[in-house]
């Protein structure tokens, strides 16, 4: 927790992280010696096949899991346990179903002891940011999947986190809603700059959103390739139709689906 640990300039730095799970008579290596630096205000997407440890990596950064060895730092501080400075958005929305949209967004502020008036003002700001102002008093069960995830994004933003960790947030949505939310997320990100680590298994999504795509491989979970995406922001739907986008997408596809001789048959993942 001391400031002397500000040894790296990176916003997020992962140093030699290894995570193993004990099996019956073997050891499953979820992450084997991963190093990664993410700069301030960078939007990094992480893609890879199942079992490559991308979610494990995110959980370690979120403080929901501890690494077996190695360390993670955010803003130069060691990560131990979860904290509101690291916002997390889950694939399953994880909204509190008994609370209205506004109360959900206010949750973190209430925990932090923010007064009622300020809580409401800040919540309303972020609810408006994600376009849910007409649904502020609605319960989650009244919302579509896309609206639920927008509410979760507002909730994460409300506590003013330094970084945002997103674990396949649009994975459960239909293709059309997903594309809209991707654009909306970039719009939000351009106005409320944060360092984002976004996990996905969708190559198009990874390229469309990122400054940099981190491609991971499984068995052991590791970083396979890092591909810079030099497409200018703001990105609109037209970007997807450019040859540059196609080229980048091909590169990422190749990195994800042709991961060389290290690939191991699926049965052994069990």
């Amino acid at each position: 927790m001391t400031e002397t640990q500000t040894m790296t300039e990176a916003k997020i730095s992962i140093r030699g992280i290894r995570k193993t799970f004990e099996m019956k008579d073997s050891e499953f290596v979820a992450l084997g010696n991963v190093d990664l630096d993410i700069q301030d205000n960078e939007f990094v997407t992480v893609v890879g096949p199942s079992g490559c440890g991308k979610s494990t990596m995110m959980n370690i950064l979120a403080g929901l899991e501890e690494p077996t060895s190695g360390s993670a730092h955010v803003d130069g501080r060691d990560v131990h346990g979860p904290g509101p400075e690291r916002g997390v958005i889950f694939q399953q929305y994880a909204l509190f179903p008994w609370l209205t949209v506004r109360k959900n967004v206010e949750f973190g502020l209430k925990v932090a002891g923010v007064g009622k008036a300020e809580r409401r003002e800040r919540a309303d700001h972020f609810i408006e940011m994600v376009g849910l102002e007409h649904f502020a008093d609605a319960l989650p069960k009244m919302l579509s999947g896309g609206m639920k995830q927008r509410c979760a994004i507002a909730r994460a933003y409300a506590v003013n986190p330094s970084i945002l960790l997103m674990d396949e947030p649009f994975g459960a949505l239909d293709a059309l809603t997903r594309v809209k939310l991707q654009e909306q997320l970039l719009d939000t990100w351009s106005r409320e700059q944060r360092t984002v680590m976004f996990i996905t298994h969708d190559v198009d999504e990874a390229v469309f959103l990122a400054n940099r795509v981190v491609v991971m491989a499984a068995r052991p979970g590791r970083i396979f390739d890092v591909i810079d995406v030099n497409l200018p922001y703001p990105r609109t739907v037209d970007v997807r139709l450019t040859p540059e986008f196609a080229e980048l997408r091909n590169r990422v596809w190749h990195a994800v689906y042709h991961q060389g001789p290290d690939a191991v048959p699926y049965e052994q993942t069990k």
């Binding site: 979120a62 403080g63 929901l64 346990g81 979860p82 904290g83 509101p84 690291r86 916002g87 997390v88 889950f90 399953q92 994880a94 909204l95 509190f96 179903p97 008994w98 609370l99 949750f107 973190g108 925990v111 932090a112 700001h125 408006e128 940011m129 994600v130 376009g131 849910l132 007409h134 319960l139 989650p140 069960k141 009244m142 919302l143 579509s144 896309g146 609206m147 909730r155 506590v159 059309l176 809603t177 809209k180 654009e183 909306q184 719009d187 106005r191 409320e192």
Partner: protein, 291 residues
């Protein structure tokens, strides 16, 4: 912060999203702020149901009346009504209802009040689960009434033994489902609270308790049903007043009309108490997503 242009483009995205979902599934029509349309559609089937119910009740009474006119020696509906009026005028009915309700509500209140914390502790701390579970599982297999002989010997024949078996019946039903509620709280909800900065105490109060409310209320309903059944049976065995006691007395004098009156009262009171809990459940857990 938000330029007007941004706000506008975002607004259009929202509208499209909402349109897509509401036209996609009719069930999501509740998204619109005025849910009057689906309500009107529901009115008809509900009315129909009511008519069917009324027909069923009238037919049931008619069959009863028919049987009473045969050799079965049943009292006819008018005889039962007359008996009910008589019992009311004598003040016996009120006395019995108050005696029975006091017992059941006391036992039920103590049972639920104790079951909820015990269930929470069992769900939250593994050692507590290990300590409580064998006893709860053991007593769950014994009908509370089967303990009445023992309880009568130990606690005498006053109010205490009857309240005790009712307490046991409602406690056992409620404790199991509270415990189930706590262990089935979704891990992602707890994680969501943790990453927003919540510590254990807050998570318990603001996530675990509301998330397990539906389970607790189901347990309370089952507990109340079981308590009511136990009560009436307990009164048949040992009481000086109460609905069960009155039937026991009537049996001695071959007074079938009184037995009928009390059976009907027991049914109606049980139904009313269940409806009250059902209503509470709907109020408190209306946030649940029906799958």
């Amino acid at each position: 912060m938000a330029s007007p242009m941004n706000a506008q483009s975002e607004g259009s995205v929202v509208d499209q999203d909402a349109t897509v979902t509401s036209s996609g599934t009719a069930a999501n029509a509740g998204v619109s702020p005025t849910p009057s349309a689906p309500k009107r559609q529901k009115m008809d089937p509900r009315k129909k149901m009511f008519i069917y119910n009324a027909i069923s009740i009238v037919a049931g009474i008619a069959i009863w009346w028919g049987l009473a006119l045969t050799d079965l020696q049943l009292p006819t509906p008018p005889e039962v009504v007359a008996k009910a009026v008589e019992l009311w005028d004598q003040g016996l009915m009120q006395e019995d209802i108050i005696a029975s309700l006091t017992r059941v509500l006391t036992g039920f209140a103590i049972g639920s009040a104790l079951a909820i914390p015990v269930g929470f502790v069992m769900g939250w701390y593994a050692p507590a689960r290990g300590l409580f579970e064998p006893w709860i599982q053991f007593f769950r297999t014994i009908p509370p009434l089967a303990l009445l002989p023992l309880v009568l010997v130990l606690l005498g024949i006053g109010e205490v033994p009857k309240i005790f078996v009712i307490f046991l019946a409602s406690f056992l039903a409620c404790v199991i489902s509270t415990y189930q509620g706590v262990v089935s709280v979704e891990g992602t909800l707890i994680n969501a609270a943790r990453v927003l900065g919540a510590k254990d105490g807050t998570i318990f109060a603001r996530v675990v308790i509301p998330a397990s409310t539906p389970f607790i209320l189901v347990g309370m309903r089952v507990g109340l049903g079981s308590a009511w059944a136990t009560l009436v049976a307990a009164e048949l065995l040992a009481a000086q007043a109460g609905l069960g006691f009155r039937m026991q007395q009537a049996q001695i004098y071959y007074d079938l009309a009184t037995i009928f009156v009390n059976i009907i009262i027991i049914g109606i009171l049980g139904l009313v108490m269940d409806r009250i809990l059902l209503f509470t459940e709907a109020k408190l857990t209306g946030w649940q997503e029906r799958r």
